[in-house]
Subunit: 236 residues, 2 copies
DNA sequence: ATGTGATTTGTACTATCGTACAAAAGATCA
DNA sequence: TGATCTTTTGTACGATAGTACAAATCACAT
């Protein structure tokens, strides 16, 4: 079943274009965009610097292509899982399924790349932290639909919670998700080795469980209606 | 009440050293470390590039000084608030106070700078995303004590939850906290203008409420003991 | 085998980077 | 006022950045 590839899709023995993309993805995701030079990428991919220019024209073009590669498949998978989640009868189960539909594709692969989902999500986290313009544009116009669909689905399971609160909480979810992928070692360190921060399965379960509970928290307006505010500051 | 400053604490009419620190903090926090040049910082501070070298020797030294400036006060404030929180009788209220003790100093100022707390926390978020070495070292040895104290305090309020779960959930808290400061506009956008992502008070309340609920979620081992797992994937 | 188009290589150009350093300018006090 | 120390300025240097481009190399249809 080893298909001889036609000249259009691959050129040399190894697919250099793919190697460059993979190397760039990894380096960008761990060091940020500006800390990585085109020469670094080329070296990691076993390619010549000029080859990067040939395939992607500019460094920004390379980043753009990475996003193009992953956004579609990851969103598709999210919509599939979200559709399946919406068919769950039990309301509690449905909420969990909805959250899972949002979280799982970010960790596991959105495309056919092995573990590429986590790497790409980490890349998104880093780019958003750096305020990268290229990323900001493509993310806003690619993921906002998904985010709205997700927020709506959560809202359907929790009609008594104001939409505003759900937006905040889903924002926290994304932040937690990002941070789990950015510094997994911190979890291992703070748990004194009892937890493995880089274990995707654990991260998913913990994140889903915590997030479901967070979504189910009482709305802010009516929070603790008969309780006094706990002490918050010593002075002022 | 205009005190003539002694020669030791300030030299020229405006304090150039402070101006450089402030400008660097702002630029690093919004663009990342590598995207900002020493010349950018100098220009934003109205100083000469050479002046940066004079005061901080290297670019890394400048970053280090920013951390030195904030870490102490912020940690001190957290310990004060944590100590006060531990004196709260009611267990539910105590948990909320503990979470608040962790969150509030990250948003409001840890030192005497106005709004400097949020800016510095955002800086920490960006540096951690970029995997900055200087930041990683100083953070691990400065904030791990605080984090452990915080985790222990939460654990005291929730003895039935395994420590591992609490570590994960406090990790999610920090991620949510970071992300709220990095891209507040996303909250405004997704809520269609109904929420203001850059309003610190709202962010704090929302974050505290959601996090308290997340901490109170059932432990993972015993999660949903009599329930079947909801559907999670269509294939495999 | 050979010509043709796609890819890779090697190298060079310009811009900007972090940093160094000497000279100028200001502050401080005898 | 003049001596001395601190701070600011201006400029320069070597390294490295992104990108361009011509030459070399490869895959493959003819």
């Amino acid at each position: 079943m080893v298909r001889k590839p036609t000249s259009k899709e691959t050129a040399r023995k190894p697919n250099m274009r793919e190697a460059i993309l993979a190397a760039a993805e990894e380096l960008f995701a761990t060091n940020g965009f500006n800390a990585v030079s085109v020469r670094d990428i080329a070296q990691a991919a076993g390619a010549n610097p000029g080859s990067v220019t040939y395939h992607f024209k500019t460094k920004d073009g390379l980043l753009l292509e990475i996003y193009r590669r992953h956004c579609g498949p990851m969103n598709l998978r999210r919509f599939e899982l979200l559709a399946a989640a919406k068919r769950v009868r039990d309301l509690q189960d449905r909420l969990e399924a909805v959250v899972r539909a949002y979280v799982v594709p970010a960790f596991t692969s959105g495309s056919d790349l092995a573990g590429g989902g986590a790497r790409f999500t980490r890349l998104r986290a880093v780019m958003s932290a750096e305020g990268n313009e290229v990323a900001r544009k493509i993310i806003a116009q690619t993921f906002d639909d998904t985010s709205h669909a997700f927020i709506d689905a959560v809202h359907e399971s929790l009609p008594h919670i104001p939409r505003t609160d759900i937006v905040w909480r889903s924002h926290f979810l994304l932040g937690a998700l990002y941070y789990s992928l950015v510094t997994p070692d911190r979890v291992s360190r703070l748990s004194r080795g009892e937890a493995d921060g880089s274990d995707a399965a654990s991260a998913i379960e913990q994140l889903v469980q915590a997030t479901v509970a967070a979504f189910q928290a009482p709305a802010l307006d009516q929070a603790a209606p008969a309780r006094r505010r706990p002490v918050v500051s010593s002075k002022t």
